[in-house]
């Protein structure tokens, strides 16, 4: 009953015209960001974060979350049409998605990616709604030792997020600790690592570091090479984008698989949508009757990872909102955003800010519907974004980053 009341309250918040607008702006920007290889949600959220300081926090978190899950819808477009993943989680979609496009089934691949994203994304939000409040209630019994353990877990997550080299991950974490300790020590009022500069006494803002690491880092990494890729033809008309009845029947298990695996992996700190999409693809391949055809353009090979990728969003928000632990770069920025607006994500977040939590949950249902509408008939339009020359795109990202800082 609490959940139902909360959800109704959430819809009353999310359906306010201003919040609907921010939800649309978020999912639209997210789709564009997802379509563009080389610009990810962490960079976009970091760049836009300074602009949200003058906004209502509910509208702001609805917009930033929209960018987060909207990018996952858009990420499949380049995987299917160019064999270039828009996001790391869409890497596995390239395998069968691009092969389908080469066989003239780009429309069905794009369509099933949008439908799987919608189904699994909605299931992910449903699970978030059911799991987060009881978990937060349980976490209310935490005292200092549990909080210390949570902080240690948060720092230890660096190892999970690291990839192959634990040594390099730990070194990166230590550099982060060094940057965080620049400025005045709160207990002794000693200045540390300021080199006599007054500007450094108050430390280095998180937003500056976030934009430097995510936005500039991504641009510099992409500008190392001058690469050009070929875009396959995008089918026009809704009819050409809709999968056949047989396609949907073939994807039944993929929808369930993607939804469940995506959410579970999302709740595990350090899991991430990339792991979720690979796991889901692997499971789909293992149980499929036509597993030997995977990699040649099998539609389930698109539906399962895209579903997992989107369901993961709901899962990733569980530890973020109930324990204050981010599991990925994007949720780390969302955590920072909440802190900068004056909130404290953790066990008390839901009871103290029900409008914000339930408004966000309700907006995600609405946002998923918006994304389905945006991504089915309008996918040819979004694909046009790919025709924007990179020599124009990167200076613009640099400019927005500078304005943000």
């Amino acid at each position: 009953m609490d959940i139902l009341t909360g959800l109704l309250n959430g819809f009353s918040v999310a359906l306010a015209p201003a919040n609907l607008l921010w939800c649309f702006v978020g999912v639209f920007l997210g789709t564009v960001v997802g379509v563009l290889p080389g610009l990810g949600p962490p960079a976009t959220i970091a760049m836009l974060l300074p602009l949200t300081f003058s906004m209502n926090p509910t509208g702001a978190i609805i917009m930033l979350a929209g960018i987060y899950y909207g990018a996952k819808y858009g990420g499949s477009t380049t995987s299917i049409l160019m064999n270039v993943p828009g996001e790391s989680a869409s890497v596995v979609t390239c395998i069968d998605g691009y092969q389908m496009a080469r066989k003239g089934r780009a429309g069905a691949a794009l369509g099933i990616a949008a439908i799987a994203s919608f189904v699994a994304g909605t299931v992910g939000v449903l699970a978030l709604m059911l799991v987060a409040p009881p978990l937060a209630k349980f976490a209310l019994s935490f005292s200092s030792p549990e909080y210390f353990a949570l902080m240690s877990l948060g720092l230890a997550l660096v190892v999970l997020l690291a990839g192959r080299s634990i040594v390099k991950a730990l070194l990166a974490a230590l550099v982060g600790l060094w940057i965080a300790s620049i400025g005045t020590d709160l207990f002794s009022t000693n200045s540390r690592f300021t080199f006599g500069r007054m500007e450094l006494l108050s430390g280095i803002d998180f937003i500056v570091v976030a934009i430097g690491v995510f936005a500039l880092g991504e641009v510099l990494g992409n500008m190392e090479v001058r690469e050009e890729t070929q875009l396959l033809q995008v089918p026009r008309g809704l009819r050409n984008l809709l999968p056949t009845w047989q396609d949907l029947k073939d994807c039944r298990f993929a929808f369930v698989n993607g939804s469940v695996i995506g959410f579970i992996v999302g709740t595990l700190p350090g899991g991430g949508s990339t792991i979720a999409s690979f796991l889901s693809y692997g499971l789909e391949k293992a149980v499929s009757r036509r597993r030997d055809q995977f990699g040649t353009g099998v539609i389930e090979g698109v539906a399962a990872p895209e579903g997992a990728n989107n369901s993961e969003t709901g899962g990733a928000l569980v530890p973020l909102l109930t324990l204050g632990i981010p599991g990925s770069g994007t949720t780390a920025i969302l955590l920072a955003a909440l802190v900068l607006w004056g909130f404290k994500p953790g066990p008390l977040f839901i009871p103290e800010h029900p409008d914000l939590f339930w408004g966000l949950v309700a907006s995600m249902y609405i946002g998923n519907v918006m994304l389905l509408v945006l991504n089915l008939p309008l996918v040819p339009l979004f694909a046009q974004v790919l025709r924007m020359p990179v020599y124009l795109l990167y200076p613009i990202i640099l400019g927005v980053s500078l304005v943000g800082v």
Binding site: L51, V167, K168, L170, L171, L174, V175, L177, W178, S181, D185, F187, S188, N190, R192, F193, L216, V219, L220, G221, M223, E224, V225, R226, P389, V390, Y391, L392, Y394, P395, I396, L398, G399, L402, V403
Partner: protein
């Protein structure tokens, strides 16, 4: 030292991070390690400085012991492109006080389009003017965020 190892990016970043770790330890050693109330301002930096130095040493040693094939050589051409963008960006920020955001950003765009992407001068000029004007219109005029202005007043 084998050629492949010498060229490894991990080796050079390990050396740089080792240097940073040593600097942190030296700086932190001048601060109080502990006080009657508990750890002093030097306590935490000393320990993460030591950890950084140790891990950096581990990274360097693992690179020195790696077989030449294991080490990924640095592609200086790619790094050069990234560094030149970074330097151009830093230069444009330094020029904010003199030229203002709009002109500095136009110069940065011009540099990226002509030098890094080898586009014709005309294309670069159009891109620079259009993007700088776009930023001025969106941020300064429409959103009312005052962009840094220079000696020319904009």
């Amino acid at each position: 030292m084998e050629d492949g190892t010498r060229k490894s990016g991990d080796l050079w970043s390990g050396i740089a991070l080792g240097g940073l770790g040593a600097t942190i330890i030296v700086q932190a050693s001048h601060w109080e390690y502990s006080s009657p109330e508990g750890p002093g301002p030097g306590f935490f930096p000393i320990w993460y400085g030591i950890a950084m130095l140790a891990l950096a040493a581990l990274l360097v040693v693992s690179q020195l012991r790696a077989t030449p094939g294991d080490a990924k050589a640095v592609d200086w051409k790619r790094i050069g492109r990234a560094i030149s963008v970074w330097a151009a960006l830093a230069g444009s920020v330094a020029l904010f006080k003199i030229l203002g955001f709009v002109l500095s950003f136009a110069l940065l765009t011009y540099f990226i389009v002509t030098v890094l992407y080898r586009r014709p001068i005309r294309t670069a000029a159009i891109a620079a003017v259009a993007s700088a004007a776009g930023f001025y219109l969106v941020f300064d005029w429409a959103l009312g965020l005052s962009l840094p202005s220079g000696m020319l007043g904009f």
